[in-house]
Symmetry: none
Subunit: 248 residues, 2 copies
């Protein structure tokens, strides 16, 4: 393999996973550690990556690392990590959009093998970094506000799908009123997503608990899992536990 090809390979790995380990590259490219280190050094000299102890990091990733613009990011990371426990190899998963779902994707183990349907382009791009995940993007009208596809075409496609698990964020959940929303289009969309999945997990930060909005998506009983940043036995979650929702 030519040196230039190795460099291209390394850059592709970097762009895909935001990081590379020297040891991984040694195996993948079957050259000595020294060669990989020199490669990384040269690429770093060109300003294409950050060389660190043990490997290298993507520049873009590094600069956008502390993305403090994401609201309540710490809570969302906790939620995302909990959600990954629901995913097992071979699963067919359907996801919505939103920062919490995006964080969930970033927390997935690198080698997981699954099929993901999603209505979020950003989630699709993030999922594409995983070699063993098949990604299907559900197409349709693209919403400027929520950054997901919606509308009749999406609902038609969802009607043909039966996923093992649906992961969605929400702007409101209430022990009596269930899942509710403000916009009719999003409401219709979520109904279709629920119908397209055997089980549904709702990911939301605690401040969205006990809120009911105008339009009802489903009763609380239709939710299989509720994932918040709170402890499983936190008192705020009593109302949901009583309705036999699994609290994670």
């Amino acid at each position: 393999m030519l040196k230039k090809e190795r460099h291209d390979f390394i850059m592709r790995q970097i762009n895909l996973h935001n990081r590379v380990l020297t040891s991984d590259l040694v195996q993948l490219l079957t050259v000595s550690e020294d060669t990989i280190r020199r490669d990384l050094q040269e690429l770093a000299d060109e300003g294409l990556l950050f060389k660190v102890h043990g490997g290298a990091l993507s520049k873009s990733y590094h600069s956008s690392f502390d993305d403090s613009t994401v609201y309540a990011r710490d809570s969302k990371i906790i939620i995302a990590k909990k959600a990954t426990n629901l995913i097992t190899d071979g699963m067919v998963v359907l996801t919505g959009g939103g920062t919490t779902i995006l964080e969930f994707v970033k927390q997935l183990p690198k080698n997981i093998e699954a099929t993901f349907f999603t209505i979020s382009p950003l989630v699709a791009v993030e999922l594409a970094k995983y070699n063993n995940i098949e990604v299907i993007l559900i197409g349709g009208l693209f919403s400027k506000n929520s950054q997901v596809t919606y509308g009749g075409q999406v609902i038609t496609q969802l009607a043909e799908l039966k996923a093992d698990l649906c992961l969605m964020g929400t702007s409101a959940i209430h022990p009596e009123q269930g899942l509710t929303d403000t916009y009719w289009e999003i409401n219709q969309l979520k109904k279709a997503m629920l119908a397209a999945s055997k089980k549904t997990a709702v990911l939301c930060i605690s401040e969205k608990l006990d809120i009911a909005l105008r339009l009802r998506v489903c009763p609380i009983g239709s939710i299989s899992y509720l994932i918040t940043e709170l402890d499983q036995d936190h008192e705020s979650l009593t109302g949901y536990r009583d309705k036999e929702v699994n609290i994670l």
Copy 2:
């Protein structure tokens, strides 16, 4: 064997395998290393390949690899700006993916009013920043390499569409061979995109001119506009102008 024949042979190898080794060519052509090096040097001087230590690499291959640091970004901005002139209010536009198309979106005037169909999630997200553009993302399998949707579902949806204009990038264009590609899936996709549009504009940097790859997308006559970073009357474009392609 004549020198020209050797050059043709080398270029065929390059387009077929994206790479050649000096040592292989020495054996295949039974000439000395010096001769091969001189051949590669001359072809590199003509801009037909990248000469590297140990051999040479295809230009299209190389530039499709590193999509982090956008290759030839200045040229792509020039191309993108030219392309925006093709867009008028009320138009229905279909776009592919790639860094050049993405740059094109960023160069669009803010108040333009149009409908955009796209197979690229990144393009969709960028288009969503424009208030008066309706964005429809065409869904399907998501390609980890080219970051666009593809496959049967995409082609079925394209079959129902008739856009005014299709904008696509390419890895190779040739005055006699037309538009060509290396991968069958992408080839099928581009054919469907062409069929779904009244006119087609191809955006590519000049180093992709006069290259023919394995699979043919369409003859040069099917292209309405060719947009490069070169001046309209540049001599490299003569072959295309003769085929009645509009050069921008």
